[in-house]
Symmetry: D2
Subunit: 500 residues, 4 copies
């Protein structure tokens, strides 16, 4: 279950791309992306809103830019006006990303990415900037584009360019800009990429499609999104994946943080910022009891809510029961609950029929990984009146005066109305960096042309990088104990199928 | 322990007024009020920020205003431009104030305040507007001024004026305006007040001082602030209180909501909105384990923080221990904690010495009821650099680069960086309304010229007004059971000293 | 709300004694006591069951006994055979009673009870023995009888006698024995008591009735039971109380431990030991949301139960709602709950009508302070079959085969099926000792012939005695802070009406 | 991680049997079993202690027994005297085993085990009797022996025999008896077994070794213990497993209950029954943060303990941190904690060195799955004094008087000092029954001669059988939703690698 904002975008894009890889289809995919993700572009940092005033007429592609040191291999918006602010944002992010910073320190001497040449295509914001600069410190040369036309923090891109990193990205790219930027990153003179770090699969797809000779030569791909992973598995199944790839989306440490831990905070924050709800005594139904639902239910209950759970899977339903939540169908409680939270990954979980029966003032929001969990289309009908009372908060008013409160128009409320803590990004970034190191340094033949999970030991290493934050001290096995357990003293400590 | 924003203001004002009631002193008190409360004026509603753009040059006192129905007995800012927006804010607030709305419905027929003439002096915002209009529905005629020169929501004041209520208030009054407004409320033609609803004691003071003959005739005073209550007890002690007064600040239901329940939400919200902190595993010290500290500690622990508590009182310290928190002195943990929260009501709980030893990135905030819990003056020194990174968030940077994060400049972070849920205000408003009804309808001689707590039965009634929100159903005593317990079937159910 | 086992006993005895103090009535009271308390006599220690095999034919009164040192001023059962075992029980109890042991150490030099002569009448078990020996170490000479004919741990009584303490008590006294023992304690030669420590009021009553001249001379009475306190207030009201008395039953620290904290553990323990129930997902209704109900509800919810609450008081009901429990009437949930827990102090809270509708296998138990919360008489009818499946566990079987599980025959399940942790007794014992010290050392005139609560500062001192157990460190006020708060640096820190 | 009592037994037995299958070795294995498991034989039911008085001289093998209906194909102890009591125990167990009873009802008509002939070798107690009788109701004929010479509840065995089930088992079998009983179950006249249900692998081993021609013909083996599963994998690896087997030990539903949920209750119950500890404020270190450690830590924290965690695995350590526990090494906290709980599965986690430094009164217990987590041998030295203060509770006293409290002599405290709730056994029993049904009805060729996990769908079915207990209602996928998710509407709903 994936929690990144690009999920819905790429889900749509994926279907299109799968059927035909023609330029038109690609444009359509990116166009779809624009509509569906505009609202969530600012979710990564409270500070990103400051970038909204720099919109101007001239495209960055039509301007000549130059860093204070004379560097020109980049294309961003207003480098000189913004880089200082962007640098401070990066500085602040560094303080809250202990894992990736520790990795930077530990591996700085070794330079495990010496001579690595990485094409990157991810969101560009303060946190990913910390990742990018870490890769450079570890010895890599990189070229970077944005994976989303709306999510770039321009000031951060400016700071990276000022630091001499070839970066091609700005907020509000057109679809053509998007592909132009990506192309500039892949096909530089005298620079043959040997690794891809991708978020959604576009860099992989473009290189495979347009530069097959380059593609064949790379050492591997690291992909972090659910959609990109699907595309890789699809390529692999069809025999088109000719290089190794690591799926970091399903890494244990990253998943626990993206889903369970992150959501514990996010549900409270999202509801509070939008509605000022008081949690005590509120009746809430959480649809879905996977890791996201578990995190939401736990926090809401702890704050005094009465939590109901809906589930399709008996095992998760039994867990919900044992954890002290009533397991119900949505129909049973829809008339009485104060809040409906979706966390299923499914579509049309909340239907018009449900919304017709909710009580006055019921809050409806989506924490899942699909934007279609709430059937928002069904309430875009003439007899219902929509009033936007705050940003991301709509009152939908029935003819009889009854009103429901829809957050973020049914999109991911945690992305639209809360923030992703830097600590969570730190876990994901460290996972990506380690996957790149693993692919780059693996002995010949260790990885075939297939999609791999991050080795358990690397996953454990990601976790260990974040322990000093908590002043947590690991216990070490004695030789005798390691032998008794049949383990290597330095791990991995669990079999792959272990359920954390 | 009081959680209203006027506390620190009035604490200062009180001292001054006590010594001398001369105009100059009063002005000074109000002036002090301005400086100390500016930051918290917007705390009552997320929507209040919308009012900030209507600042203009001409004073409301210099303009002739008229409602659409021709009403003119008021002085607000821009009635015609703003009343519609203000009305919607009131409508929204009504939906979240079930207690006061239920009271309105129940008592509408009886009109228990028929012919009551109330001078009101409180904050003026959507929630207090619901109270004001409820008093009117219950039969009272009212005249209303603001108790704070910065906290008025102009649009709400406009809506009240449009509805025909004599209201004298706008955001940004001068001190002279303040007293002029109050005077206009007290000394209207053909309108002799018989009740005062006060927040801070200024209406009481002015009437007692300037209109002693009016003052003698009133049936009673209801006061909701800690400061105003102190002033009343002082008057009583000195034999100057010639009418009954009810202290609603210490009502059980109100206190539990103002302190314990409200703070459970507010600590998480305040920290999250300002710092995007991830709670899991964070080490937090909560200074003070009264109701505020208990609420903070409970929520933080539930979200995965490791909570330490400091206390001066052995009984509260023992409670903290039994509740699973380590009880420490601040010195023991100051080098290792990630967050310091003050909730003591004391002064200089966090000193420069403490701040000199905090770890890099430590967050410091105040949830108590005094603005002096953190010795902020001690860090206004040349060698420390202050950087405001977001609204209400300052980085204070030591010469060695170490940095602490101070929220709301040490003022109440829950008022500055979070909101007071309407439900909490609903409890307070219902308490005030019932106190007014009690004083107005009490049989002759029931209340002497003294300060009373709200009768237990009224307090229970306030609670009962809020139960339908939770679909909560009370059990009724049988006659046999009531007799066994020695209780009246309709309450009160507990002795006055009962500890809830 | 009182949690001591003697409550029901004394409730009955009290009514009788009040009406007439004749021997016959007293006998009846004590006789009633026997029936109602037999089951709970062993509740104070798991080890007390070891005493059950020493029942024999000859009454202790008919045997000559002598300690190994030749001491003979006592009457217990089998001193020589049992004192060693009793001493070890006392040793173990001392380790878990940090408060009273610290007091012993601190006050050993001062001997604040030097020359005090105390008549004691309490349960006699390992924990009270620690109290008794502490009083002796503090300088007192004591004479001690049991307040309950069934609760004496004979081995402990033997150990006290062997240590030279005049003790008159054994398990299984007749009513005549009971009064004979008490008389022996009050009317010794050359020993004029000046303090009474009473649990239920019998020592007070006997001395006042039979030895009025002695009674007049005492410095004061400390009473720890709800019933005894009622009797004192009754005496006071009728002008018969000619000496000061301290009610320690309502001391803050003691009450919190007796009710809230103690019950958190006890509800889980009581249910588990009797029924092996698995808590997760169980639906439980807790009747009453005072401190006992709050403690039960909190623990059950934390272990995964879904908790419903019934309440008569709107304030407590609102607290339950805010704490995340549905507030219902018993009728609403009686068909669906798995467990019914009473904690009201009321009578007939669970009626035959309720029991007729419970689902098969429903567990019913009483945690309140009255034995009549469950109408057990109503199910002693011929058509229902009772099967005792384990000690304290009865299956009541309806003609249709449906069955409910009644614990402890409706008596206090926490007393019958769990234990009172020594730590809780330590708090009570320290409170009693301090009350005795206070009365004995008070300056002339400080206490009149009335019933007092323990002074707040003493209450705080009891708490402070128990902090070292948790390695808890108090913060001390600076002079400046104390002045700011208007407090003495050494306390008391809260007004008497403060709600912890 | 396995929580059954046979673990230590079979671990020992396994090693021996593996090296040589000679009778002497087998005897030794069983002998070892006796010593190591005696203390835990009564753990399955509080009622099993009633069986302890029926020890007599004559071996059951030397007596002729006959049921009231004339049935004689069994060997138990005192059928006539005990069957009625045993039947009632079974009746009680049925009420708390909803899953297996629902399965019984649902499959009674189908008789999915018609003509199945099952050799069973498990513990024999009220709960397993419910399983056995369910198998019979589903159409199977069974023959049953005990897997442990000490754990049989004789009354239950008698009830089964009285019901006409061939059962060969009694408490206190000799090793020879053990193999004789098992042989009687395998090699009956005119009865060719086609399924084995095994707990520890002894039935499998004996049939494979002594009756290879019978073994070849069976349809499959269901094994529920960790040890038995190890033996099967070993057979499979060595090419000796000639029939399919299902490992139910690692089924998802069963594991979650055996470890996480069961331990939440068990840690509190074990500590309370043995030590009467009050949980509030106690400092506890939990060694190991797998499912068992997670369950223990969660409950202890909820009851007010301050919990420290030790871990070797960084991922689990990070989880502990995020869940609000300090992660430490044992050395860091050993001097200050009140309780040490082991839950690692490792050996010598608590060493003599640790115990030398524990504070006076520290409680030490083992919740893990190995009996060697605490190095008990190291404290069986002359300078330390052992005092058994209650059953399963030893005080170990150092020469300086310092004392630690060791529970269950370091064996599994949850097995020795608590009980396994019937609900947990119900989950395991339903899992076993479904595995038997699956193997018996699988189409030819579906299962090879290998060891399989229970199919996910069956695992989900086990969970679904237990939902009615909680009145939990599953949501059903619409066709459209199922298609969207790529799932079959009836499940399985998750991939095999899903982490619940």
């Amino acid at each position: 279950m994936m929690k990144n904002s690009e999920t819905p975008i790429c889900d749509l894009g994926f279907g299109v791309k799968q059927e035909s890889a023609q330029p038109e289809a690609l444009k359509k995919a990116v166009h779809t992306r624009r509509r569906s993700s505009a609202a969530s572009t600012c979710s990564f940092s409270s500070a990103c809103f400051t970038g909204s005033s720099d919109e101007e007429e001239i495209s960055p592609r039509d301007k000549t830019q130059r860093s204070t040191t004379g560097f020109t291999d980049f294309c961003v918006k207003n480098i000189n006006a913004q880089y200082a602010f962007g640098r401070r944002e990066i500085d602040i992010a560094e303080q809250e990303m202990p894992g990736i910073m520790t990795l930077r320190k530990r591996a700085r001497e070794d330079k495990p990415l010496r001579n690595a040449k990485i094409v990157g295509c991810t969101h560009i914001n303060a946190q990913t900037a910390v990742l990018i600069e870490t890769l450079v410190e570890l010895g890599a040369s990189v070229r970077w584009a944005a994976c989303n036309i709306y999510s770039t923090q321009n000031a951060v891109a400016a700071a990276l360019a000022e630091a001499g990193i070839p970066i091609y990205a700005w907020r509000g790219e057109t679809e053509e800009d998007f592909w132009w930027c990506l192309d500039k990153c892949i096909s530089a003179n005298n620079w043959q990429p040997n690794l891809i770090l991708d978020d959604g699969g576009d860099a992989t797809h473009l290189m495979w499609k347009k530069y097959p000779e380059l593609f064949k030569e790379i050492k591997g791909i690291v992909e972090e999104s659910l959609t990109g992973v699907h595309r890789l598995y699809h390529m692999s199944k069809n025999g088109k994946l000719t290089v190794p790839a690591i799926n970091v989306n399903d890494s244990v440490t990253k998943m626990k943080f993206d889903n369970f831990y992150s959501m514990q905070d996010a549900i409270l924050d999202s509801l509070k910022r939008t509605t000022d709800i008081m949690f005590g005594g509120k009746q809430v139904v959480v649809c879905g009891y996977g890791d996201v639902g578990k995190g939401c239910a736990k926090s809401l209950k702890a704050q005094g809510c009465i939590v109901y759970v809906t589930e399709i899977d008996p095992i998760c339903a039994l867990q919900a029961s044992m954890d002290g939540h009533r397991v119900v169908t949505l129909n049973e409680v829809i008339r009485s609950v104060d809040v409906v939270v979706t966390a299923t990954g499914n579509k049309n979980v909340v239907t018009r029929e449900h919304m017709d029966r909710m009580k006055n003032g019921c809050i409806v929001c989506n924490m899942g990984h699909s934007n279609s969990e709430i059937d928002v289309n069904s309430i875009h009908t003439p007899e219902l009146r929509w009033e936007t009372v705050r940003s991301q908060v709509d009152h939908i008013i029935w003819p009889d005066g009854r009103m429901i409160i829809l957050l973020a128009e049914g999109r991911l409320v945690n992305m639209s109305c809360s923030t992703v803590p830097s600590f969570v990004v730190s876990v994901a970034a460290a996972t990506q960096a380690l996957a790149l190191i693993e692919l780059y340094n693996a002995v010949q033949g260790r990885y075939k042309s297939d999609v791999y999970l991050l080795p358990k030991k690397m996953d454990e290493y990601v976790a260990s990088l974040h322990l000093p934050t908590f002043d947590a001290h690991l216990t070490e096995l004695s030789d005798e104990q390691a032998k008794y357990l049949g383990l290597n003293r330095s791990g991995p400590f669990k079999p792959n199928y272990y359920r954390y």
